[in-house]
Symmetry: C2
Subunit: 174 residues, 2 copies
DNA sequence: TCCCGCATGTAATTCGTTACATGATTGG
DNA sequence: CCAATCATGTAACGAATTACATGCGGGA
């Protein structure tokens, strides 16, 4: 149930329409919490029904600008302080578990691909970081930088691990 | 659609019933791809209907032992070689993005909790590692060890990052 | 004999993806 | 005037969670 909180979080800064929110989901939040248009519009309707947001203004083309209500802000604060489970699925790790089904050569090749993918993800984020460093806008960007650093460390870790794992496999095989 | 492949993967080793599989999901795969009983039984029925597994034996209490078919093994191999997207949601990172909504003190406190959580996750996996090192069973455990190492590195990284992030916040505030 | 573990399933609900459908406005 | 962008929504499906429902069999 976190899409709900992503929407609330984006509305803290300023009121926005579903269309505006989609742009934010496709840029700032793309790496952290992707969402589709259907989902966003549906969630906006539900949030409005629950009184966590309301329509602050209407514009052309049926545009509805939603703003956070006091209840909405309270709910966001509550969620932010909440403990987190941490349990998550990983298709990548699932593949590793069953790597024994492939030949050792295929398995090593697969791990090399994982390393490459991690390296390219890392490069992509580094590029994003460079483009972000120039403008200095508010809190969202500041905390976005923390999230970005997490991503950088994660992908570096993934790459090193994949290389290590490939080496483990070749060592065992020999 | 990876639950399907988790089931196929577990059946490579030896035939098993839904009940058997649930035990495996709650032990070996618990950290990587948790699944519920409903899901497993449903997927077994679908896989059998699709010819990827079949009922190899029936036992007491209506027990059905499923075994991998050639088609099933082929599908598993296909999936293993497949490229991976890597895109994944992270509620933890989403929280970081909106940390500016809290007071700096609350935010730092939250990051400290994240660090603690990571440390405890790390400790749990280290314990698992110790208990696993004694028995030496087949491929599944060998590759499970690679997955375990990933988890260890991940949680170490999470802890360090959370500490770094907390420091960033206190440095900026002062 | 009685309880615990084995063993299977269904139902209801939520979340997320993909695809479809439709229309208004504005700038060139 | 016409195309790109703005803007909203519905439908169908698949994946996951939680809760419910039922019953056999074997060991103490």
């Amino acid at each position: 149930m976190s899409l709900r909180h992503a929407v609330l979080g984006l509305l803290v800064d300023k009121p926005a329409s579903g269309y505006d929110l989609m742009k934010l989901f496709n840029t700032s939040l793309a790496n952290v919490w992707p969402a589709t248009q259907s989902q966003v519009y549906g969630e906006l309707a539900r949030l409005a029904a629950g009184g966590l947001i309301d329509v602050a203004a209407e514009g052309p083309r049926g545009r509805k600008e939603y703003a956070l209500t006091d209840d909405g802000l309270a709910e966001l604060r509550r969620w932010l302080a909440e403990a987190q489970p941490g349990q998550q699925r990983s298709a990548a790790l699932l593949r590793v578990f069953f790597l024994g089904v492939l030949t050792p050569e295929q398995a090593v090749h697969h791990l090399a691909e994982v390393a490459e993918q991690a390296a390219s993800d890392h490069a992509r984020l580094r590029q994003l970081q460079d483009s972000l460093d120039w403008d200095e806008e508010g809190m969202l960007t500041a905390n976005g930088r923390l999230a970005l650093e997490y991503g950088l460390r994660l992908h570096a870790m993934r790459e090193e691990w994949a290389q290590w794992a490939a080496q483990q496999l070749t060592a065992t095989t020999e």
